[in-house]
Amino acid sequence: MPDLIFDPKAPVPPSEKPSNPLSLDSLEAIEIALLVEGIYRRYGYDFREYAPASLLRRIWTIIQAEGVLTISGLQEKVLHNPDCLERFVLGLSVNVTAMYRDPSFYQLFRQKVVPMLRTYPSVNIWLAGCATGEEAYSLAIMLEEEGLYSRCRIYATDINESVLKQAKSGIFPLELMREYTGNYLKAGGTSSFSEYYTANYDHAILRPSLTRNIVFAPHNLVTDSPFNQFHVIWCRNVTIYFNKVLQQRVHKLLYDSLITFGVLGLGSKETIESTPHQNNFEALGSEALYRKVS
């Protein structure tokens, strides 16, 4: 994957002294604003409140992959070509995750949240921004080991339908399984991780029974409404791509979708401090797990 945003060696014409592309009046900022506005009006995908630095990097990566030269060039291509839009959405929404990323988060969930879930006859869980499904399967395995999985339903959603397809397949590169096995053990796994998949050439195929209570479905956190009430919501390393205004709106959506005493899980470097509902939650420990108390 190209990692260069501009060719830094290219000479800068004097009339085009580089200005801060994050400031509103720069040429790039104008082009990006027009691009995301156009995409919103043409297709309904709303990237207008994404955090500027990562948006800019990702857009330039897409520009190189699409073989166009400028942000405006990408705008023309994406507005006239729905296939290009699909690739654009993919490029802006692929989050690279891992099974049992942050094992201590899973450990705390097992210790503090699983006992609470035992008190409910049925449990609704929402993984918002599930990407390729690694977290959904990690959670399913944990719930299976705790004897809770049969009464759980995991709604794993993402803006991007092609990652959902991949998630549904339950197939992961075999080479990652060694790392995942380590994470699984650190996360407090009680069995042997290799029991949960079969190796086929260079792929690991997860046990089909793990998918039985997972619903993979498209949902857009930016433009869609709450769709259920949940006992648990995980939204990990998803809103880091949003600006502060959009983060606040999404946090309201998450709050509204949680039952009282429901649990919110965030990425390890995210916090509910400075969100509109910070006083409605209590922390469950040193990981980013919070219980809605009011």
Partner: protein
């Protein structure tokens, strides 16, 4: 006028950073943001080790943390650290040149946000991360300081950056902190 110092290092970086941070006074005004490549095993111990040595407070960046003077910000393990106008942002985009956090990503976004008011510092390291980021900083009028490869635990990273850009300064490790103090002093008088 330097408003942000970004530092990148990999192999040998813990010692170099400890040495550098210990030599900066507690009232050193300019914020420092650091990417140190590290193994997962090392990831939990780095912050307390640096805090032990540093007289400035060192913290791992939380998403959207506002950049404040007289503080040291460390990229968290397994996240890219980006500069977004007056605050930091994190991403879990794919590793760049096998690295997450990536020095190139920090330097490049720091160059966007702070333009000519950013100083990039490359210390010891065994790969080429940071060289492209240094080009971005130079292109936007910022400055680059490279640890003298002869004094580096691993000279690969300083050499790669020196090959990629015309560095403004090349200094042995021991002279970097006093130099930064002088540079920050010029901020005040200008």
């Amino acid at each position: 006028m330097i408003k942000l110092i970004v530092i990148g290092t990999s192999a040998g970086g813990l010692n170099a950073l400890s040495f550098l941070l210990a030599a900066l006074p507690p009232d050193f005004p300019v914020p420092l943001a650091i990417v140190q490549h590290r193994s997962r095993e090392m990831s939990d111990s780095l912050l307390p080790l640096l805090n032990q040595k540093s007289r400035l407070p060192v913290e791992e960046v939380q998403d959207k943390a506002v950049i404040q003077n007289s503080r040291v910000y460390l990229a968290p393990a397994d996240y890219h650290l980006l500069v977004d106008t007056d605050h930091f942002a994190l991403s879990v985009d794919p590793p760049v040149r096998y690295s997450r956090p990536s020095i190139d990503v920090l330097f490049e976004t720091a160059a966007y946000a702070f333009q000519s008011e950013v100083l990039g510092v490359i210390l010891t390291g065994a790969n080429r991360d940071g060289a492209q980021g240094a080009q971005h900083i130079k292109k936007r009028g910022g400055r680059i300081l490279v640890q003298d490869p002869a004094t580096a635990y691993s000279a690969v990273m300083p050499r790669a950056t020196l090959n990629a850009v015309q560095a403004d300064w090349v200094l042995p490790l021991g002279e970097i902190a006093p130099f930064l103090v002088r540079l920050a002093g010029e901020n005040k008088s200008s």
